[in-house]
């Protein structure tokens, strides 16, 4: 098996060649015209993503990412596809990748996915030092399997414990917070790279809830099942405007007992959930968790008393962050 170091070396030089299966998948993936007026969400799956010992196959992760992005953009050439994702962002601007490592080593955004994204960003022309992988702190990033680096000649990786938070408080509705300077001062655009989890209070944590990791006191935002705080936080202009794309890690997930790591409730959806509409993505992710809960015979989140109500709130006329209406979501499963 190729080591992660070898894989990254190959990827960095563009030497990673997609398998025949992956190329066929790409061809099929791009053959889906967008339905106008609908929010496009791509769920890309690879049942063989984990090997027999449960380890992720880095090359298959890259192939899955390519398939997801190709399907979303309708472009099978990865550089062109990524340029479309990055449209409107100047060549010297900084792209942030906001991970989620709060759950610890067993249930955090996978480094293989994050590194695959950084490779594709570089191939699309983003300078290594203009990519910042970030989260709350160093421990969360290390939990993802990442290495802290502040050297601007390479892809940077550090937490808000290094950058600090703005002195000025931002507010929208119930959310009154101070934002990480990585979001406010470093990044022109942020790609959310959350991991899908059940959540003891919010019901589900994925795209929008991941933004709790960009504020100074997330504990103040948990009342009422995190509703309306999740929606309010995402309405703060710098969050709404800069966090423009989500590449959600649903390769491994916990369907109950989250957000902490519970190996007995772990499952491997082997999927990425990709798109621009954070509400549609969270709605899709929620349904994925509900299907798993039904499969193993446990209560729905509604019956368990913790439906993710913030998703509907985010879609309402006041917040208008996206849609949770299945009729308005163009869901592509590839």
């Amino acid at each position: 098996m190729t080591s992660r170091r070898e894989f990254l070396k190959e990827a960095a030089t563009g030497a990673v060649v997609l398998s025949a299966q992956a190329r066929l998948g790409l061809a099929a993936a791009v053959n889906h015209p967008a339905e106008s007026g609908k929010s496009r969400v791509v769920v890309a799956r690879d049942p063989a993503l984990h090997d027999s010992t449960g380890q992720l196959d880095d090359k298959r992760v890259l192939a899955l990412l390519d398939r997801a992005i190709a399907s979303y953009t309708g472009r099978d050439h990865s550089v062109e596809a990524w340029k479309q994702i990055l449209r409107g962002v100047g060549p010297d601007k900084v792209i942030g990748l906001k991970t989620n490592g709060l759950g610890g080593k067993g249930i955090s955004t996978h480094a293989a996915l994050v590194l695959a994204i950084t490779e594709r960003l570089q191939q699309a022309g983003v300078k290594p030092g203009n990519i910042v992988i970030w989260d709350r702190n160093a421990r969360d990033l290390v939990a993802c399997g990442l290495t802290i680096n502040t050297d601007p000649s390479r892809v940077r990786c550090f937490g808000s414990d290094v950058s600090g938070f703005e002195d000025n408080q931002e507010s929208y509705g119930s959310a009154r917070i101070r934002l990480s300077k990585i979001l406010t001062r470093e990044c022109a655009m942020v790609i959310g790279v959350p991991i899908l989890k059940d959540h003891e209070m919010a019901g589900v944590t994925f795209a929008m809830k991941n933004m709790y990791g960009v504020v100074d006191r997330p504990q103040d935002l948990h009342a009422g099942g995190c509703n309306p705080c999740v929606a309010d936080l995402n309405c703060i202009p710098v969050v709404r405007d800069k966090v423009r794309f989500t590449i959600g890690d649903a390769m491994t997930s916990v369907y109950d007992g989250g957000p902490s790591f519970h190996p007995e409730r772990l499952w491997q959806p082997n999927a990425l959930i990709v798109g621009e509409d954070r509400v549609a993505i969270d709605h899709t992710a929620w349904q994925m968790i509900e299907r798993k809960r039904a499969e193993v015979g446990i209560k729905t989140l509604e019956a368990a008393g913790r439906p993710p109500r913030y998703i509907a709130t985010a879609a309402d006329a006041t917040h208008n962050l996206g849609t949770n209406d299945p009729q308005k979501i163009h869901l592509l499963e590839v």
């Binding site: 919010a202 944590t205 948990h222 995190c226 957000p259 790591f261 190996p263 007995e264």
Partner: protein, 164 residues
């Protein structure tokens, strides 16, 4: 301050300490974590971190609320490695009373939990063990699944139990 006043202050401090210390001791787990090698094959691989209830969110985010509602006082956590391969994290939650520990243990159980004889009550899964002893709730979780993982986790759990 004259000598008489100073004596009064010292006596007051001593009285406060006499009254307060037993209360602290009642809820403090001391060091519940076995040293490297104290349990065969297990090496402590991380520092010990301690979170008070008000800061528990920094460690477990949304999970903190259920512990706070059950009366958590502090949570101590560290990591271990077994024979250099199996990695595990050990959380020791010190609750206000035994009832709080019982609530958390019972709430967290699923139908496939296997009862194990440890502390006042305990359950085990393939990759985790949880038990309560008095006001302490202990959870040990392995990141990998190995053939002798559960036996190794139980040995570590007994090592922690002996420290409580």
């Amino acid at each position: 301050m004259n000598v008489r006043n100073l004596k009064s202050v010292l006596v007051a401090i001593a009285l406060v300490a006499i009254v307060a210390l037993p209360g602290c001791k009642k809820h403090a787990a001391g060091n519940p974590f076995p040293a490297s090698g104290e349990v065969a094959g297990w090496q402590k691989s991380d520092d010990t971190r301690v979170f008070e209830a008000k800061n528990l969110w920094q460690y477990v985010d949304g999970d903190s609320e259920q512990y706070i509602q059950a009366g958590v006082v502090t949570t101590s956590t560290t990591s271990y490695k077994y024979q250099g391969q199996l990695e595990a994290v050990v959380d020791v939650h010190t609750m206000r009373d035994a009832d709080g520990a019982r609530k958390i243990l019972e709430n967290g159980q699923t139908s496939d939990a296997k009862s194990v004889s440890i502390g006042d009550a305990g359950v085990a899964y393939a990759q985790s063990v949880a038990f309560r002893k008095g006001p302490y709730l202990v959870r040990i979780v392995a990141y990998q699944s190995t053939p002798d993982g559960q036996r190794a986790l139980m040995a570590l759990a007994h090592g922690v139990e002996a420290k409580l």
